[in-house]
């Protein structure tokens, strides 16, 4: 395992050395969050705290509100927050436009990455990385430096060289799109990575590549929020905490063993337990 060398690699980044890596900081704090879409309430009273260095998994059946939570954190406009608060390193996250959240290090790996015809991956990433650098007071990359940086990241997450010359996601297979999300994550070096069903539609080899990428990017100063339907991704990305989202509510939070129980008993177990307890 090359974990140690990767840590030193990351600590060369000026952004990360500002935090003391021995102390876990509260990064994201979600308090009593309720969200509606077009007047229909999807999330109820969500509470979640994520510290630096942690990996959290949110599991739940289809339609439980997992993606709504992810896109709310990323700042999509049509998510109406009706109640509650979200702070990011103590700042009110909900007031920030999505691009500012991104520049502050929040990354969303999309469940359905969109195609942008005619815009090459190189151009797209160069624009994104330089926007972020500008925000952090760093000079934009020169073309040569950028290409070098991109090559390093491509190797890091085993991303196919050919794909960066093509238009953003255009004609990519399902697996290629998901790998592209992880490649972009590597390029943007997020502080909080939210991966929305990144495992769905992946065969076992692709899943391993994606998970490897995530693990390589993990360190003491960032955090990962993995959203998944299935337990199998969590065989590769080991979470510190597992939360079960059911019917818009977090109904269970525990350590990584919860994922295994869920795998064994299925969501029916939650469904029964939840509907029994719901009457209280």
């Amino acid at each position: 395992m090359t974990h140690y060398s990767l840590l030193t690699f990351f600590s060369s980044d000026s952004r990360l050395t500002t935090h003391d890596s021995r102390n876990l900081l509260v990064m994201l704090q979600i308090k009593n969050l309720s969200v509606s879409i077009q007047g229909k309430q999807i999330l109820y009273d969500i509470n979640l705290e994520i510290k630096t260095g942690e990996v959290h998994a949110i599991m739940g059946p289809n339609g439980s509100g997992k993606s709504t939570l992810a896109t709310t954190l990323a700042g999509r406009e049509n998510m109406e927050v009706t109640h509650g608060s979200v702070t990011y390193f103590g700042e009110n996250l909900l007031e920030m436009p999505p691009e500012e959240r991104a520049r502050k290090g929040i990354f969303l790996g999309f469940q359905y990455p969109v195609e942008i015809p005619g815009v090459s991956m190189v151009n797209f990433m160069k624009t994104a990385v330089n926007e972020q650098r500008k925000y952090r007071g760093l000079p934009p990359f020169s073309a040569a430096d950028f290409l070098k940086f991109m090559r390093e990241k491509k190797d890091l997450v085993s991303f196919d060289s050919q794909l960066t010359n093509r238009s953003v996601n255009e004609g990519f297979s399902g697996g290629e799109k998901k790998k592209n999300e992880i490649f972009q994550m590597a390029m943007l070096e997020p502080v909080l990575a939210i991966l929305d069903e990144t495992d769905s539609g992946l065969d076992i080899d692709a899943l391993r590549i994606v998970a490897n990428g995530v693990n390589k990017l993990k360190n003491q100063n960032n955090a990962t929020l993995v959203i998944t339907h299935y337990q199998r991704l969590l065989d590769y990305i080991i979470p510190d905490f597992v939360h079960v989202l059911y019917d818009g509510r977090i109904v269970k939070s525990s350590g990584k063993e919860l994922a295994l129980i869920l795998e064994e008993k299925g969501y029916d177990w939650i469904r029964k337990e939840y509907s029994n307890g719901a009457g209280m």
Binding site: A74, A102, V114, I116, F124, T127, E131, D145, F149
Partner: protein, 491 residues
């Protein structure tokens, strides 16, 4: 990781672009207060005689103008385009306006400093030393050519590149042979009008076997008020020659509309290739649709010889109303015609633009790629004709017409006409209409790219296929122009 020198340079460059993108105003809208020689407004045979006389033209040319005028009087303004054109009173227009210069400048030092300054401000320095190497410019203000750069350098290769007036004076036989040979004065209303009153423009002749080593370009500037600009360009590429030509245009901001009715004729001989690019940025009018240029232009090329080629590339961002169909008559066997277009309309602009590919020669082929972008309250139409004549065997055509809509108050329309008289022809037409999706914008936002830059990125990606056809130096300009044209159209 980054050398500080390169970084600052890039930063400056970035800042400059950002500054340009965020400025809302049409940046070429200034007016040069220079003494101008005008003919009285109105249009009649005396005016035409006056224009011809002032230019000391030979008798045959005056006769040609008068024939055109008489024919024009029998014609009506075309009404088939998808445009709302307010009535134009042709007697109110001034048909000749010349910035007063004492003598025709022999060298750059003789050019009026105020005129030099005007073109400097437009980014078109007339000083050959300052000019991008590899680009020769003919600078035209109102009705006259101010200065043609690199004429001498080109002359060494036998290439004639000069103002139309000089060509009439110095190469009358060539002008007489080709003038009106592709666009006869009877062709249409605006071509007839132009033939009667045309003032200046550029002339280019590339001799047999010569590959023109630099980009040739004409920069058209309207300056005087209440005038029309009626320039004429004639390009002749002799056998096995090659030339790449670019035109750019701007005008001051005014509340009144001004008429621009130009004619461009291209002749491409056996195995010759002509690449003609336009970056059209006439004043489009203000946000409420007041003012702006009426751009009613006839552009046509004749692929006369076998294996000849003509390629049109246009980036149309300006003008209140655009009526323009750069076309190819594919007469030679195995000849090739191409049309690549990006037409942007914003606010209250209207554009009806496209092409005609007339296949006469056997094995001739044509490609049409049209990208329309509409925003604001604008209307953007593609109108194209692909015609295959009876004896033209094995013709191939591929047309792709895409429309991109920004917002829900604009319109995009496609009017393809296909007339095929030979059954061996393969004619393909593809059309798409799309909107910039909220998903695409959010995806960009999530990567740290704000709304405005996201739109620029997506629009430039959409238009890339066409922008790539422009000569390098101008592709960057064109990209920035797209950004400026769509300023404030989203959000």
């Amino acid at each position: 990781m980054v050398t500080s020198e390169g970084a600052t340079e890039m930063e400056n460059n970035q800042d400059r672009i950002i500054h340009e993108v965020t400025q809302n105003e049409y940046k070429y809208g200034f007016y040069t207060d220079i003494e101008t020689e005008l003919v009285p407004p109105g249009l009649n045979e005396d005016i035409i005689r006056m224009i011809s006389g002032r230019k000391k033209e030979p008798e045959w040319l005056l006769e040609w103008r008068l024939k055109a005028f008489r024919h024009w009087q029998t014609m009506k303004m075309p009404s088939w385009a998808h445009l709302k054109i307010p009535e134009i009173n042709y007697q109110d227009i001034i048909y000749f306006a010349a910035p007063r210069q004492k003598v025709k400048p022999e060298s750059l030092d003789d050019v009026d400093p105020q005129l030099r300054e005007t073109f400097d401000k437009l980014g078109i320095p007339l000083d050959e030393q300052k000019r991008l190497t590899g680009v020769a410019v003919d600078a035209v203000m109102d009705s006259v050519s101010i200065k043609t750069t690199f004429s001498e350098t080109l002359a060494e290769l036998g290439i004639i590149f000069c103002s139309f007036s000089d060509a009439v004076k110095n190469h009358p036989d060539l002008v007489r042979q080709y003038l009106g040979s592709v666009v006869p004065y009877t062709d249409n209303y605006f071509a007839a009008l132009n033939s009667a009153v045309f003032s200046d423009g550029s002339f280019c002749y590339v001799p047999r076997g010569v590959r023109c080593p630099m980009e040739l370009s004409t920069y058209f500037r309207i300056n005087a008020a209440n005038t029309g600009q009626f320039e004429r360009t004639l390009l002749v590429a002799d056998e096995e020659s090659y030339v790449s030509y670019l035109e750019g245009c701007t005008a001051p901001m005014r509340d009144e509309n001004q008429l621009h009715a130009a004619v461009v004729e291209i002749v491409s001989m056996r195995k010759a290739e002509v690449k003609y690019s336009t970056v059209q940025n006439w004043y489009p009018g203000d946000k409420e649709g007041k003012g702006g240029i009426y751009n009613f232009v006839t552009k046509r090329g004749m692929c006369k010889g076998d294996y000849s080629k003509i390629s049109w590339t246009q980036v149309e961002t300006g003008s209140a109303i655009t009526w323009k169909y750069p076309s190819c008559i594919l007469r030679g066997n195995n000849s090739t015609g191409e049309f690549y277009s990006v037409a942007v309309t914003n606010n209250h602009q209207q554009a009806d633009t496209g092409t005609k590919m007339i296949h006469i020669g056997k094995n001739s082929s044509s490609t049409i790629v049209s990208k329309g972008i509409s925003a604001g309250h604008s209307q953007n139409s593609y109108r194209g004709l692909v015609k295959v004549l009876k004896n033209a065997t094995n013709v191939r055509n591929f047309s792709q017409c895409d429309s991109l809509l920004l917002g829900d108050k604009c319109g995009a329309h496609t009017f393809p006409y296909i007339e095929v008289e030979n059954s061996s022809a393969v004619v393909e037409h593809e059309a798409t209409t799309s909107k910039i999706s909220e998903e695409q914008i959010f995806y960009c936002n999530q990567r740290g790219i704000n709304l405005e830059n996201a739109v620029n990125l997506i629009v430039n990606g959409y238009a890339k296929e066409v922008l790539n056809k422009l000569p390098m130096e101008f592709a960057v300009e064109a990209q920035k122009l797209l950004q400026i044209s769509l300023e404030g159209s989203v959000g």
